[in-house]
């Protein structure tokens, strides 16, 4: 079967992670994604190693957003560069940008400029804070517009001495890119049906809020004195998490706990738990939750995570060990579903990328290839588009490619 976005051409004028991730996902799904970079390259290429991985590792901040793309360097500050961009835009389905309104205006790549060249193009903007309101012209990265602004950093700061734990890298950028890819696909569908091409807006602020929707929606109705959620006070002690002897964590998610209580007691080999009248029903376990959890805490501390994994492999309810990032690479369920996909970088290094979380027709969605070298497809792209070498040379002389 063909890939979902085969034949779709995307011109991406975007930097960093959030918006480029959408381009990368669409490349995974078969689109031709042309990444237009300034002559110095996407500034993301200047990021030092933020993952403290061994020097032989891939650069996740380049590979994850930009896998499978083609790259052309264009200096959009000059006429000749813009001509090259417009030439590419003419035959594109999607224009994708992270640049803010003042810069888009200055470079003449705003909606009206691009639509003048291609009236039917789907124009997509990813921003930190959204296209309206007082911060419409302000830059935003995900730790400010997503993490800090969604309520989660404030929530987590209640649990740690040093404020919230550090945000995992690109935490909201990746969800944002996912959202943009979905929005573009929706706009492409609409255009097929109605001929109308949309202007699409996605912001990190909105993405962050979406992830925290339950807490946000209930906030106006919440008594400010309500105690913070705590695992020592979990209303359902078998929908909770417990520390093991080797300081790892195991999560049980036994909703409708009356179905699972006897089984859990059996797995934990605890007659004490099974027989105690204080814990016989869900209601009773909630009423006596502190003592119940203390007891469960004591039991879980007696074995290592590996031992508990063995024990719970027989459990009919939902559970999981809190696995480490390294352990993910050896997980049979993940491998069976193709959620890690092997890619070889231009340097010849083999590594795994996480697949986009949407798979079609039984096939894993695999990257088309690694991230491109900056400007590696400049000449090839223009030649393919029908531009004669002489014209490419004239653009080069004029400084269009930097």
């Amino acid at each position: 079967m063909s890939k979902p976005l085969e034949g779709v051409r995307v011109v991406e004028v975007a930097a960093w992670t959030f918006v480029p991730v959408a381009g990368g996902m669409m490349a995974d799904m078969g689109a031709e994604v042309i990444k237009v970079e300034p002559p110095t390259g996407d500034p993301q290429r200047g990021l030092e190693n933020m993952q403290h991985y061994h020097i032989k590792g891939p650069k996740p901040f380049i590979q994850i957003p930009n896998r499978g793309k083609r790259s052309i360097t264009i200096d959009l500050r000059i006429d000749s560069g813009r001509k090259v961009l417009y030439h590419l835009v003419k035959k594109a389905d999607v224009f994708l940008t992270s640049y803010l309104p003042p810069l888009r205006e200055r470079l003449k790549i705003d909606v009206q400029h691009i639509r003048a060249i291609n009236p039917n193009i789907i124009y997509t903007k990813g921003s930190g804070w959204g296209p309206k309101g007082p911060k419409a012209n302000t830059g935003g990265y995900d730790s400010a517009a997503g993490w800090a602004s969604s309520g989660i950093a404030d929530l987590f700061s209640n649990y740690c001495d040093e404020g919230a734990p550090p945000m995992p890298s690109a935490f909201f950028d990746l969800q944002g890119g996912n959202t943009i890819a979905g929005a573009i696909s929706t706009a492409l569908f609409k255009r097929e049906r109605t001929g109308e091409a949309s202007v699409v807006d996605v912001s990190l602020l909105n993405v962050g809020m979406w992830a925290l929707a339950p807490a946000i929606v209930s906030a106006p109705f919440r008594d400010p004195d309500t105690p913070l959620p705590s695992r020592k006070q979990a209303g359902n002690p078998i929908t909770n998490y417990y520390r093991t002897r080797d300081n790892r964590w195991i999560f049980l998610v036994a909703l409708q706990s009356d179905r699972f209580w006897a089984e859990v007691c059996q797995l934990l080999e605890s007659a004490e738990l099974a027989d105690d009248p204080r814990y016989q029903t869900a209601a009773l376990r909630s009423e006596n939750r502190e003592a119940c959890i203390e007891l469960l805490d004591g039991i879980f501390r007696t074995r290592t995570l590996a031992e508990w994994i063995d024990v719970f492999s027989a459990f009919s309810g939902v559970w999981a060990p809190a696995q480490s990032f390294a352990e993910i690479h050896h997980n049979a369920q993940i491998r069976a579903n193709g959620y890690l996909q092997k890619v070889t970088s231009n340097e010849g290094l083999d590594f795994d990328l996480v697949s986009a979380a949407m798979h079609f027709d039984g096939d894993a969605t695999a990257p088309q290839g690694p991230a491109p070298e900056v400007g590696q497809d400049t000449e090839a792209l223009l030649m393919e588009s029908g531009m004669e070498w002489e014209e490419i040379e004239r653009h080069r002389e004029a400084g269009a490619f930097g």
Binding site: T40, G41, G46, M50, N346, G348, E373, Q376
Partner: protein, 101 residues
């Protein structure tokens, strides 16, 4: 004798390397692994690689001579390395990025 011109694609006779000529002047000979490169659509006569020119080429990198008058873009990586009139080419340095964290 091959004639070289910009826009032309060349392939190595001793490895998988393929390049596109981006800039070219004069009549210099372009080699990979010490062996003259062939037109991409020519039948390749397997040559014998010279050990001094087996440093490898990398997809997407641009290789230039001293004065930048000759530039080759690697469009397929290989084991050999590029030279012009027997002098090894250097990787074209990307413009300096603003330093970032």
């Amino acid at each position: 004798m091959s004639t070289f011109k910009p826009g032309q694609r060349l392939k190595s006779c001793i490895c998988a390397t393929e390049v596109m000529i981006i800039k070219y002047v004069g009549a210099a000979e372009i080699s990979c692994g010490g062996v003259l490169m062939a037109n991409a659509n020519e039948a390749v006569k397997q040559g014998k690689a010279e050990s001094g020119f087996m440093k490898g080429t990398q997809m997407g990198k641009r290789y230039i001579n001293d004065d930048g008058s000759i530039e080759l873009l690697c469009i397929k990586a290989g084991a050999g390395s590029l030279a012009v009139d027997g002098v090894a080419l250097a990787v074209k340095k990307a413009k300096p990025l603003p330093s970032s964290d």
